[in-house]
Structure formats: structure tokens, C-alpha cells
């Protein structure tokens, strides 16, 4: 009962994203009820809600809280819109922002879901990556997302292939939690009163010797704008990643099944996928032929997602080296360009949906 009651109202004050101390990296796993309370506490039915999901690029890794790209997007879109960034490091489109989109759309909110999409390799799962998979089952058990056959069959198949024990463990835990609310209670206590797990981030904190036990609400978003001088440190490793992507097989029909299992048919029109290029600092090291293949793969991926019914934006502005923290993550200046490039597509999507 306590866990249920304590996750009815939003507790995340001044939320702009899941910063380090309220993210799974620091052993804080927000529950679906907390997410729903956050979402409901943030949005209103007479606005156009933009929920951001996906990876660290969408989360704004590399940007400090004052320069977060999603805050710039909010400014660009204006008061008619409400932007909420629910992306997580290492995540993909099949994450909590999608679950909240599905729940809000069922209640006839005006909602648009934005996520980055993987252009080179297969990277889409209805239950997100393994570390976040429990959130899917939690959302499913709470009734925020629908257990349609393609979704359940695909999750069962993929989860079983990854780890046969994981599927039943997540299912059982989510079922028990829906009755006993233990995740909700301890996540609430961890944020509001005391945290019970030691983590390297809180242990190294400058707060005090007992920082690991301090409630997570005392930790703000302390992520800072990335150090651009580090951009060049991993040239060899980053070039290998780019060349592996160039040489990888293109997205084929295996993405069809994953996409139909992840994005419900009714939500395809509400979805906007983003495909973004990499830092020019790395791309200029490619040969003309390699660069041609790279650019063509971005276009092919866009066409592939479009053919599956998802509006997909290829973000190719004149990015400079200073707009990136590394090969992929955007710096403060890159985030601003990113937001300004995407904003017109969001308003276009809103008009297509009849929201404006």
C-alpha cells in the first residue's frame, strides 16, 4: 500500500532529464508509476506533449543542465508544446518514453514521441536493452502498455535468447511488484529519505562521508558540458567503430519485426525517428569511397524506417568538430543546432496529426 500511495504524485522536482543520480547507472531505477506520476505532473491535456526517448544522444549526455538540447527544443517549440526528456544512456526507442507515450495516447492526450534510431546496425527492442528490460515488464504489468501478440512474441523470443532466466525473473518480479509495490516504495524512499545501495558515484561525492546513504533528491544534475579537448583522444577507437558500421550489413528485414513489436501500429503516426550523422572530425578521415558508403547508409536507413511507416528525419546540418564531444554525442553548441533542426519537423508532425 505504502509503495502505491508514495508513487501517486510526482517526486522529481525541477526535472529536466534522468541525470546520473536518478538513473540506473547509480542504481536508481525509476518505476513505471514514478514515470507516470512525473509525466502527468509535468504535462497538461491542452498542450502538445513531446516525449523524448532513445539513447544518450537524446538524453543530452555531454551537455550540462543549463544547455540541454531538449530545453532548447522547448524554447523553439513555444508554449503550445511541453517537452519531456525521458531518454536513458545506452537506451533505444523501445524505452520508457515510448511506454508513457502509449499510456498518454490511450487517454487521448496530444502526444508526439521522438527517439533516435540506429542507422547502421540492428538496435531496436520493445523491452529496450537488457539493463532496462525490467521497466518494460513493470509498464506492462501496470497496464501502461499493451501486450499485443507481436510484442509479446518478440520480447519472449529475444529475451529467451539473451538469457533464459531473465524473462521469467522479470515477469515474476513485475507481477509481484504490481501487488506489493516494493520497487515503488524503495525507489520512493531512495529519492526522498535514504538510499540503501553503495555506488561509486555517490561514494566519490564531495557531499560527505555518508553520501551513499543520502536521498537522491539532494543530488542535482551536476553533469557538465563536455571537455572538447578530449574529442581527439580516441581517434583510433572511434574510427574503428565508424569503419565497422560502414562494413556492416545494411538494415534488412529483421528490423521490420522489431519495429512492429516495438511501436504499436496506432502510434506510428505519432512517432518521429531521428538519424544523426557523426562528428566531422572523424568523418574527414574517411576515404571518398568510405564517406560515400557512410552517407548512403544514412539515407538507406531513413528510407527503411520511412517504408515501415515511421517519419524519419536525417539530421545533417553543417555540424563542426566543436559541436561534438566525441564521435556521436553532441556538445552544448551541437545540442542547440540539433534542437533547432528538429523543431520544424515536430511542428510539421503536430500539424499532420491535427494538433495545431
Amino acid at each position: 500500500m505504502a509503495g502505491w500511495r508514495m508513487t501517486t504524485e510526482n517526486i522529481f522536482a525541477n526535472f529536466s532529464r534522468f541525470h546520473l543520480f536518478i538513473s540506473p547507472e547509480a542504481q536508481y531505477f525509476p518505476t513505471s508509476r514514478q514515470l507516470m506520476a512525473l509525466t502527468r505532473g509535468t504535462v497538461s491535456k491542452n498542450k502538445i506533449i513531446v516525449l523524448i526517448g532513445g539513447s544518450s544522444v537524446m538524453r543530452g549526455t555531454g551537455q550540462g543542465p543549463d544547455d540541454l538540447w531538449s530545453t532548447v527544443l522547448q524554447k523553439e517549440l513555444g508554449d503550445k508544446y511541453q517537452v519531456l526528456n525521458l531518454a536513458l544512456n545506452g537506451g533505444n526507442a523501445g524505452g520508457q518514453a515510448l511506454y508513457m507515450t502509449e499510456a498518454l495516447a490511450a487517454e487521448e492526450y496530444k502526444v508526439i514521441f521522438i527517439s533516435d534510431a540506429e542507422p547502421f546496425t540492428f538496435g531496436l527492442l520493445p523491452n529496450n536493452v537488457k539493463i532496462y528490460s525490467g521497466m518494460f515488464f513493470d509498464a506492462l504489468e501496470r497496464g501502461y502498455i499493451k501486450p499485443f501478440p507481436e510484442r509479446i512474441d518478440y520480447v519472449t523470443k529475444v529475451s529467451y535468447a539473451q538469457d533464459p532466466g531473465m524473462l521469467s525473473e522479470h515477469q515474476l518480479k513485475a507481477m509481484l511488484n504490481s501487488q506489493l509495490n516494493f520497487d515503488d516504495l524503495w525507489a520512493y524512499l531512495g529519492y526522498q529519505h535514504f538510499f540503501t545501495i553503495w555506488t561509486q558515484f555517490t561514494a566519490n561525492s564531495s557531499f560527505s562521508y555518508d553520501a551513499p546513504w543520502k536521498p537522491r533528491k539532494v543530488y542535482g544534475d551536476t553533469e557538465i558540458n563536455c571537455d572538447l579537448s578530449r574529442n581527439r583522444l580516441f581517434l583510433k577507437e572511434e574510427m574503428k567503430i565508424i569503419r565497422d558500421a560502414i562494413n556492416a550489413a545494411p538494415l534488412e528485414n529483421d528490423i521490420d519485426e522489431a519495429l512492429s513489436a516495438t511501436i504499436p501500429s496506432a502510434l506510428k503516426d505519432n512517432t518521429l525517428f531521428i538519424i544523426k550523422s557523426y562528428s566531422p572530425f572523424y568523418l574527414r578521415n574517411l576515404s571518398v569511397e568510405e564517406r560515400g558508403i557512410f552517407d548512403n547508409k544514412l539515407l538507406l536507413a531513413q528510407k527503411k524506417y520511412e517504408s515501415l511507416g515511421i517519419s524519419t528525419v536525417l539530421v545533417l546540418p553543417n555540424f563542426k568538430t566543436k559541436d561534438f564531444c566525441d564521435r556521436n554525442h553532441l556538445s552544448e553548441s551541437g545540442g542547440k543546432i540539433f534542437a533547432k533542426t528538429i523543431a520544424p519537423y515536430v511542428t510539421k508532425k503536430a500539424r499532420e496529426l491535427g494538433y495545431e
Binding site: P24, Q27, I131, L180, L185, D326
Partner: protein
């Protein structure tokens, strides 16, 4: 009489304690053993 009340109180306190331990155990058992370290720049 007072012994019975005391026993009931002890029994209640023990029950609550066991409940909290099991509740916390259920929360902790689902958390990953290995910390998730996201490496970016």
C-alpha cells in the same frame, strides 16, 4: 495479562521486521549485480 500483551507486541514487531526484510529483499533481488557503467568520452 501484561505478559500476553507483551508477547503480542513482540510477535507484531517480529512480523513487521520480517515483512520489511522480505519486501526489501524483493526490491534488491531484481537489481543488477554488476553496476551499469556507461562509457562516453
Amino acid at each position: 495479562m501484561s505478559k500476553k500483551i507483551l508477547m503480542n507486541l513482540v510477535s507484531f514487531a517480529l512480523g513487521v521486521s520480517v515483512g520489511i526484510v522480505i519486501h526489501y529483499y524483493l526490491y534488491r533481488i531484481g537489481l543488477p549485480l554488476q553496476p551499469f557503467i556507461y562509457q562516453a568520452f
